[in-house]
């Protein structure tokens, strides 16, 4: 066995072992902590599979933002957790649940194992036609041009998630500021980090967006880094979360999908189909959409984390 395959087997074992540990963990806070580690190990698997773009997204979204959301949820559940854990469901329910879970796991394994080898793929077609857009990263090509519809809908889903959270706002706080006001020692270490890191983080976020044209990276990964910087500043108490009724905030939230839609409809008129870019302007149009998308992703993710408005504007 070579060093590389030993590493891969060890990595797979660690990922599976950690997943089992998360499922069996007694405390939801510990499980959420384990999930963060899991979300950082999974990117290593993606790197081994050659999916650097997926690895970046997984680390940022799976490990980072989902982890923070789960930790927040676990902290909220903390007071009622012992009561909930105490009421165990009956044997029949647990048996049915485990049979169903095992069935799904086995079906997934069967589907993956039954795929023809080599699997059906459109990758050669995507690489072959990459000249059409002037972008060097085939993943960005697929996301922004060949399967642009999926990406557009994905961004709308993100917006729907935020609307879902906002629909939980009590009437008297509608339009108010999300979450609690964070207080931190203005001369403390967190405030220091929140002053030092954002300039670097903003540059790195925009860099990740920009290199996404030719290398792994893109709007989602860049936007996540920007969102993290925003959250850091809010958590350190240096800046309050904006009231959700602000017009500029609403405009930022719809900028990405909005410009995407406008360009898409323009394609109907100038090109030959919805979301077809006129080939001479393909790259500038895609960069414009990605820039707007980055801001939208950053604002949306930041507000998803900030939570339900609990204060007046």
């Amino acid at each position: 066995m070579t060093i590389a395959s030993t590493y891969e087997v060890a990595l797979a074992m660690i990922v599976l072992g950690l997943a089992a540990w998360i499922i069996t963990a007694q405390k939801s806070f510990a499980a959420a902590g384990g999930f963060v580690a899991y979300g950082l190990l999974l990117p290593l698997v993606w790197v081994r599979l050659g999916g650097i773009d997926v690895a970046l997204a997984e680390a940022a979204i799976g490990g980072g933002l989902s982890g923070v959301l789960l930790l927040g949820a676990a902290a909220r559940l903390g007071t009622t957790e012992t009561a909930v854990v105490a009421e165990r469901p009956g044997v029949l329910v647990r048996l049915l649940a485990s049979v169903l879970s095992a069935f799904i796991a086995l079906s997934l394994a069967a589907v993956v194992l039954l795929l023809p080898d080599p699997g059906p793929t459109l990758a050669p077609a995507a690489v072959e036609n990459s000249a059409a857009t002037g972008l060097g990263n085939p993943v960005t090509n697929v996301l922004m041009a060949f399967r642009a519809m999926d990406t557009l809908l994905e961004k709308v889903v993100l917006l729907l998630a935020l609307i879902g959270i906002w629909s939980l706002v009590p009437d008297r706080f509608w339009g108010g500021r999300p979450g609690m006001r964070h207080e931190a020692d203005p001369r403390g270490v967190l405030a220091f980090l929140a002053r030092l890191l954002p300039p670097l983080g903003i540059v790195i976020g925009l860099y990740v967006l920009w290199v996404g044209a030719d290398h792994p990276g893109g709007a989602f990964q860049g936007g996540t880094i920007l969102a993290a910087m925003w959250l850091l500043v809010m958590m350190a108490g240096l800046m309050d979360a904006p009231p959700i009724s602000r017009r500029w905030l609403r405009l930022t939230l719809i900028a990405g999908p909005g410009i995407f839609l406008v360009v898409g409809l323009g394609g109907l008129w100038l090109g030959n189909a919805f979301l077809a870019y006129p080939s001479a302007y393909a790259k500038p149009l895609i960069v414009a959409i990605e820039l707007a998308m980055t801001l939208t992703v950053a604002a949306t993710l930041g507000l998803l984390m900030a939570g339900v408005p609990e204060r007046r504007a």
Partner: protein
């Protein structure tokens, strides 16, 4: 020349792996939060430092080398900040576990 670089890389990355290993053992075996944090910082500072040092010798360009150093510095910054925050909470709670 490249053989010498390779040997130095192997030595440095192995030293890094050793510090990660020692840090992990410390995290598992040390009795309270503060000493565990102390063990963790060894993994961050020295472990990652040695790994980066080893990989610097293999970096294809100065730009890539600078990126590696930047990664190490950012991890140092994040690690130091988080350690401070955890340590402060541990002291406030007076918790030993």
């Amino acid at each position: 020349m490249s053989a010498a670089f390779n040997i130095m890389t192997i030595i440095a990355v192995s030293a890094g792996a050793f510090f990660f290993f020692a840090g992990t053992i410390g995290l598992l075996r040390f009795p309270d939060t503060l000493t565990r944090l102390h063990a963790l910082t060894k993994a961050d500072n020295l472990g990652l430092g040695f790994v980066v040092l080893g990989l610097l010798l293999q970096a294809p360009s100065i730009r890539d080398g600078l990126k590696l150093v930047a990664v190490w510095l950012l991890v140092l910054l994040a690690g130091a900040t988080v350690s401070q925050l955890i340590a402060r909470i541990a002291r406030q709670d007076g918790a030993s576990g």
